[in-house]
Amino acid sequence: MRRERTMRWVLGIAAIAVSIVIFIVPFIFIVLQAMKTRQEASELAFSWPRQLAFVENLIEVITQRDYIVARAFLNSTILTVASVTLLVVIAAMVGYVMQRRASKIRTVANFFVLAGLIIPPAVVPTVWVLQTLGLFGTLPGLILIEITFGLAFSILLFRAFVSTIPRSLDEAAIIDGASPFRLFFAVIMPLMKPTVVTVIVVQSVQIFNDFANPLYFLPGDDNATVQLTLYNFQSQSSNQWNLLFMDILLITIPPLVMYIFFNRQIVAGMTSGAVKG
């Protein structure tokens, strides 16, 4: 018994030590690099900065090239908030009707949800569609793309949750004279709050961190997103490691805050694939 307990402690401490080296040292490295002067950061050493330049780096990252990073943050925020808001409403409507009403459309919709999860989007034809609609290279165009690509996953989550809401509730509301519209938005939607939160958190992290879609569908510096500015910044000034890492630090903060506050919902959403059946 006693031996087992010491074993447990030893193993636990060893595991913690290994995971600190493998998972935490890289993040400490980001912070250290962001605090160094340009010259010292270029040494790429894992050491406490000889000269602290945190504030200077912060100011320089934000103000350089006509505040491009600040504007990118604004763009990414608009993109994320708009996409996620619309995505939640649109996907919830589908998940709800899909679960409640058997119809031929449901069979088709089931197939499309599956296809949407698996099939990689056809990139250049999507550019072509956006260009035909006059939406290529615009923020609204990218918002519509992000909503579309997030649909399948969100619909699955909503559909699964609606099945836990008793139908008698719908019937009671209808008998009381609620319109279908009111039934959904005033009765069902509030009950779906846990799933709404999960979808919001998971999708906003995903869209905020998205790189490929802005790269293809929103080129140019004018409305670059944070991931794009980080990437461009890397290819333009590879020797300014301090600023590069300050930029990484800045764009890691929003997901980190999300994680701290919504830990449970994120985990529930991202592992929801495991709870099929």
């Binding site: 447990r8 894992f46 996907a91 409507m93 009707v97 991202m270």
Partner: protein, 305 residues
């Protein structure tokens, strides 16, 4: 599987009971916004890609050239390499996530000190931007100044050029991918492991089974659904991968770490839209051909149980 059948049953009985309510309460136009978006930005581009992949295409005009793009894709080594690398990348990341994810999950569900802390630590990289992770590892794996080779040097080993050696670059990126995505695999396995009744293990212990025997005949068969989910999720992600490769090596050195995703982007940048789209169709076929049998197989196994 079971969810689908109960749902159908619930749907039927509900319909029989309240035919009128069902019609009025659940309007089909609720599908409309999603259907329009899906059709315009997903279905149409996907169908159009089959046609455009057979053309020489500049977005403004196109010329039908048959299968020339595909012939070129599989004949030119720099394009074909991307195809091979995609398979290596997909299967290797998926396999490693299964093995390491399960091992870690077993460790983290045992009565280990600090397991909650460890779970959050392992999961955190999932949330960090892929581009950020890529740049960070470029610094960590720098052949001369990087920490990793610095640490190896103190052990008397000369570290390789992780991302600059053509024979190694792809595998280094695979390692980074596993590092970043391990958290999801691990959490899925933890969810699966927690669902196994502890009585089974107690019975095995009473019967004198070793820990390894218990793992082999209790844990492994019972976490199969979780394994299926991990395989499917990581294969879908791995076969489509682009961001991480683009942020670390850009497909280089040469084209040694190119995957289909990066070939598509390179050809698009170079203005070969038809060829780029052919790459997209190849990716579509690869993903479908691999994913459909695997998901069928995994579903069948579950039914047999």
């Amino acid at each position: 599987m079971t969810a689908a059948t109960t749902e159908v049953r619930a749907g039927r009985s509900g319909k029989a009971r309240t035919l009128g309510v069902s019609r009025h309460a659940y309007p089909l136009w609720f599908y409309l916004p999603a259907a329009v978006l899906f059709l315009v930005f997903f279905a149409i581009p996907t169908f159009a890609s089959f046609y455009f992949s057979l053309t020489r295409w500049t977005l403004f005009d196109q010329e039908f050239i048959g299968f020339e793009n595909y012939v070129q894709f599989f004949r030119e080594p720099q394009l074909y390499q991307g195809f091979i690398n995609t398979l290596i990348y997909g299967f290797l990341t998926s396999g490693m996530k299964v093995v390491i994810g399960l091992a870690l999950a077993v460790l983290l569900t045992s009565a280990l000190v600090g397991r909650h802390f460890l779970r959050s630590v392992i999961f955190f990289p999932v949330l960090v931007s892929t581009i950020g992770v890529g740049i960070m590892f470029k610094a960590l794996l720098d052949p001369f100044d990087g920490i990793v080779n610095g640490a190896l040097e103190t052990l008397g080993i000369t570290g390789p050029g992780w991302l600059t050696d053509p024979d190694l670059a792809l595998y280094s990126i695979i390692g980074i991918d596993v590092w970043k995505g391990l958290g999801i695999a691990c959490l899925i396995y933890i969810a699966g492991l927690v669902a196994i009744p502890t009585e089974y293990y107690e019975a095995a212990r009473v019967d004198g089974a070793s820990k390894w025997a218990a793992f082999k005949s209790i844990t492994l068969p019972l976490v199969k659904p979780a394994t299926g989910t991990v395989i499917i999720l990581s294969l879908i992600g791995g076969l489509r991968s682009f961001d991480l490769i683009w942020a670390t090596t850009g497909g280089g050195p040469g084209f040694s770490s190119d995957v289909i995703g990066s070939v598509i982007y390179k050809q698009y940048q170079a203005g070969f839209y038809g060829l780029s789209t052919a790459g997209n169709v190849v990716l579509f076929v690869v993903v479908t051909v691999i994913m459909v049998p695997i998901s069928l197989m995994l579903n069948k196994r579950e039914v047999e149980q």
